[in-house]
Symmetry: C2
Subunit: 125 residues, 2 copies
DNA sequence: ACAACATATCATGATATTGTGATATGACAA
DNA sequence: TTGTCATATCACAATATCATGATATGTTGT
């Protein structure tokens, strides 16, 4: 604890110009998650940061659909939808079941729906 | 309803190669939000798609902090933090109160905390 | 085996976002 | 008013992401 305080007075860390609140910094640092996790989490949220993917998600919140239904409902070409579905799959946001020639897509779990809905609530305020 | 079916047989929409499920498409299309909203929502979620911003959010979930505390806790230079705080502000994710020379930042509302936590739950599974 | 269909992958030019150095603002103290 | 501190803004090179055309894969019917 005293070590921490001395350390910070030595100015050998990045923030050289200000006088930080050591106690608050200690508290929040203790509760941070692993560095890697922030990157994983950012990758995950990045997926929601694209209107096309959000549209696809919003459809799948309502019901499961095959690729060509998504194309039709969103008026997008097949390549675009398929590409975005790949990204959604790779990030564990949608899953699919093969039914003959078709692939029926659905959301992997409730988290996705929750995040979508809370986000929508936020921007509609 | 019959109109819809005839329309789709005319192949004058983008998805020409497959035989979509008209009924499902109708159902989901009816419940879609305005085109613009998808863009707004994507802009909002984009903010969560960057590790630095997530780190800042994760700190503010725990307690309110001034800029220089955030720099110190995250070992980032002031410009980086300030820039990201500007983006967070512009997108209504954080707010701040001036206290003398300092600016004390906090999350705008509970939505932010919820989205952060549900996302974290998801990737930790 | 072959054709047709539904979906997936690859490659790419156009566009957007990143962190950061340089600089500006605004508050307090002397 | 001058200097210092805390924070904000601007500008930009490096990097990432987008939609899409071209092409591949895998399934069904003949």
């Amino acid at each position: 604890m005293t070590d921490e305080k001395n350390l910070s007075k030595n100015n050998d860390d990045l923030c050289e110009i200000c006088l930080p609140h050591e106690d608050a910094i200690e508290r929040v640092k203790k509760r941070m998650i692993d560095e890697d996790k922030y990157f994983d989490l950012a990758e995950f949220f990045k997926i929601f940061g694209n209107p096309t993917r959000l549209k696809i998600i919003s459809l799948l919140v309502i019901e499961d659909l095959c690729v060509c239904d998504i194309c039709e409902a969103l008026n997008l070409n097949q390549t675009t939808v398929s590409n975005q579905l790949r990204i959604l799959r790779a990030n564990n946001i949608v899953k699919y079941k093969k039914e003959g020639k078709m692939a029926r897509y659905s959301l992997t779990d409730l988290h996705i729906e929750m995040i979508y809905k809370v986000g929508l609530e936020h921007i509609l305020e």
